[in-house]
Amino acid sequence: MDFLIFEHPILIVQALMDGVLLGILFALIAYGMALQWGVMNIINIAQGELVIMGGYVAYFLYMYGIHPAYGVIVSPIVMYFVGIGIYKLVINKVVDKDLFTSILATFGISILMMQLMNFVFGADVVVAQSNFGTTMLFDNSVTLPNSKIFASVVSVLAAIVLVLYMKKSKLGRAIRATAQNARAAKILGVDTEKVYASTFGINAALCGVAGALIAITFTLHPYVGLPYTVRSFMIVIVAGLGNLPGVALSGMGLGVFEEFADYLLGTEFRIAAVFLLLVLILMYRRFKLARSREYLK
């Protein structure tokens, strides 16, 4: 078996750049997951579906002749209200139950959303053309679509805005207080129910931004949500909750891993590689924890 990537070392540069730009997007989704995990202590399996739905909002604009880049502004607004709606209907009933209940309930939401998107937009793979052109580097041997650069710039901006919002605003302070100790926050007059609802909404809005960016840089399909959930879960457990530089770094690491897996194993094993990496990371974590338990003994 000969690998193209070793015959043409310039492809390594290509894979690295693609991976990093892709990873920034993953990190944005993972940040949303870390937020709701930290604040509400639920794991949202429907995270990937929220992303894809955000992407379809941008695609919807594109179908009506509006440039899909505006989706970056429209989609988070739409998704914020979708998120609030999902919270009011389902999540507020499982938020204080055990984790498996929330996993299964959000799994139900994920199946539901998947199928609804399939009805509305069809089961075809779609892409919203942005016509941003491409940048060529190193004597035209490395191609870099401008849309990907646009996507990573917007993701970084969105993350910065969110961090500032969490630091400075009143709601941000309430969210951080609830994450630290929900009961104490409640005693001190924080309306935790409202905090939970807005946390879920903000997470959905972040997914909306990421989805709109995915719509213009990659492809959309109703059934590809779950890999995004798993990717963000992976990034969060590697980085830890509330560690933003860690989330960014491990997001980029995951992006680079995927690009290399693409070249080395073939595209048909890409999703399998993501899921197997998840298992490997969990195993590593498990044996590391087991060792520290041995010390205690």
């Binding site: 998947m114 899921f275 969990l282």
Partner: protein
């Protein structure tokens, strides 16, 4: 063991068995539905060993189902023909099993379909079962989907196109006879699974599993080697789920990685859902849950026509949010005396509702 069974229970068991033996002959048109009903019950009661008794909510049991399916059909074909040529040529048109070959292959294949998933459970069990709570749930979800994706990339077993299971030899009877044969084979598997699990629950094993569910660290501190019990439980599940997978592969006749074998969106969720619907952590709960679910699914699925997954999503949410204890839990709360819980008359009178 027989002496332990009370007379009243014996009547129930005989009644169920008689129903299972007679019903498919009274309603021959529904024979396939009855077969799948039994398969669903098998999946639910084996999932209950992890999810209900042990508190390890797995989404990964579907992997054993798919592996059993591929192994069984692969061996049925591979014993007599070249597997690669079979999948390339689309199978049944070029190669024909004689009845003798068919049955030899089926028995060997089913045996392997039970043993190989059990071995896989044994190997991965030490790593996977060391995870707790939601890490375990997500890890097994990943395993279930990864196995489907991997199977979809292997050319030998037809990759994403899938492969055909060996067709029923026409010389010994038509489709009717085939359906009857597989129904009774599934019934035999169901009886085997149920009796084994009932025996298992009467031993110390169940107490250990419940101790793990209630507080694993405490159980370990009391000197129970929890890992050994957890792996044993998983191996038992894998054994029976693999067998069921091997049978379903032959009944469906066509094996496709994502929608038949490693169907996390249908069977993989169904087994969790049926167990919760019936009541986790009871012997009869999964049986009742699977029956109710199957009846609901078969009678209403056709009305939804294309909206099945929407209905499924809503059903999951409703069951998880409003009925987390299941039917058995609901009955237990309303009629505790049916479960042998004696409630003192004085206590009942002394109860005060605080409104």
């Amino acid at each position: 063991m027989l002496s332990n069974i009370k007379k009243k229970d014996l009547f129930i068991y005989l009644g169920v068995l008689a129903f299972a033996l007679i019903a498919p002959n009274v309603f021959p048109d529904y024979r396939i539905q009855f077969t799948f009903w039994l398969v669903l019950i098998i999946l639910a009661i084996t999932w209950n060993i992890q999810g209900g008794e042990m508190g390890y909510n797995t989404f990964g049991n579907i992997m054993f189902f798919g592996v059993g399916m591929y192994v069984c059909s692969g061996i049925q074909i591979g014993l007599f023909f070249d597997l690669a040529e079979w999948t390339v040529s689309g199978g049944e048109k070029t190669f024909v099993h004689t009845p003798d070959q068919y049955f030899q292959g089926l028995w060997v294949g089913l045996l392997a379909a039970a043993i190989i998933p059990a071995i896989i459970a044994l190997i991965i069990g030490y790593g996977v079962l060391g995870l707790r709570g939601h890490y375990f749930a997500i890890c097994t979800l990943g395993i279930g989907i990864a196995s489907g994706e991997v199977a979809g990339g292997i050319e030998l077993i037809g990759a994403g196109q899938g492969m055909t299971a060996p067709p029923w030899p026409k010389d010994i009877g038509g489709t009717e006879y085939r359906n009857e044969f597989f129904y009774y084979l599934t019934l035999a598997l169901f009886v085997m699974t149920f009796v084994f699990i009932k025996w298992l629950y009467s031993t110390r094993f169940r107490l250990v599993l419940n101790a793990i569910r209630d507080n694993e660290d405490k159980a370990e501190a009391m000197g129970i080697e929890t890992m050994r019990y957890k792996i044993t439980g998983w191996v038992i599940s894998a054994f029976f789920v693999g067998l069921a997978g091997g049978l379903v592969g032959n009944i469906v006749g066509y094996i496709e990685p994502v929608e038949v074998a490693f169907d996390g969106r249908e069977m993989g969720v169904f087994m969790v859902l049926m167990c919760i619907l019936g009541g986790k952590g009871t012997l009869w709960g999964p049986v009742i849950g699977a029956s109710v679910f199957h009846i609901f699914k078969e009678s209403f699925w056709s009305f939804f026509l294309g909206w099945q997954y929407v209905a499924l999503g809503v059903l999951i949410i409703v069951i998880v949010v409003y009925l987390p204890e299941g039917i058995m839990g609901f009955l237990r709360e309303k009629k505790p005396e049916w479960f042998g819980e004696v409630m003192d008359e004085e206590d009942r009178k002394a109860q005060v509702t605080l409104d």
